[in-house]
């Protein structure tokens, strides 16, 4: 099965764009969601580079676990000492 080189170009361009959007986002939750998306697209890139082991690891750990850790951190950083939510962060 031959893949058009434009697929790779589109993948790289989307990767760069999502990375820039994740870094430029004001809302932390949105930034983490974009990071998870970035991780999934990066695992696609690894698959295109014929590295299935790295692709599996990237999807599971890079996108899944790190994304979950960061979401957890956002949730904790929003919590004020009396237990209510601080919506500013």
């Amino acid at each position: 099965m031959t893949m058009s080189p434009w697929l790779d170009v589109a993948l790289v361009a989307t990767l760069v764009w999502i990375a820039a959007a994740a870094l430029a986002s004001r809302d932390l939750f949105r930034a983490v969601v974009l990071f998870i998306t970035f991780g999934l697209l990066l695992s696609l890139a690894w698959a295109r580079l014929n590295a299935p082991d790295v692709a599996l690891a990237e999807a599971a750990i890079g996108a899944g676990l790190t994304g979950a850790l960061m979401l957890d951190a956002i949730g904790r950083s929003r919590r004020k000492p009396d237990g209510t939510e601080d919506e500013e962060r």
Binding site: P52, D53, D72
Partner: protein, 214 residues
Amino acid sequence: MSRAPVALVVGLCTAFGVALALILPELPDAPPDLALGVVTHLPDSGVAHPVTAVLLNFRAYDTLLEVVVLLMAALAARALPPEATDAAAAKWGRPVFDTIDRVALPIVVLLAVHLLLIGASRPGGAFHAAAVLTGGGVLLRLSRGLSVDTITRGRCAFGVLVAGPGVFAIVATVCAAATGYFIGYPAQFAGMLILVIEAALALSIAFALWALFP
């Protein structure tokens, strides 16, 4: 953040990216020696997949140190004061979580065992199985508030964490006594030893990653 430093950093990164894109096609082809060596010695390594052979046999020392680093990260995470269980977990709709638990957790266990066993011949192995198991652990943490500390008390948790690198180190030392090389598996036992080490590593790494979620 103010505009000027951000713009500078973005500019530098873009310039670096463009420079890399220009240089990369000019690089000479990678010498085939290492890949050739792996393919030549693959039948002796005990597994059929070259990546697993490299990770668990040819460069097993790197994997051992890597797992010790993970252990240290888990110990550092556990050194922090424990967080109170989320009150929010009790507010969420129980039916959704119960259904997700009932459907997803058996699949998680099956998938983890499958990935562990298939690592000998296909992409898989200890780290992938550990990542899937950690996903199950995070699910438990979210739906039932089960963190590492509710499953095991202090020393037991430490024991599970150390079990992985411990088994690896013990096997490596026994092999040093048997064949004269640290982590030099005897050829006829290599596959079985790698499987034992991978199983212990998967449990240990899953526990270590689960411990990162307080």
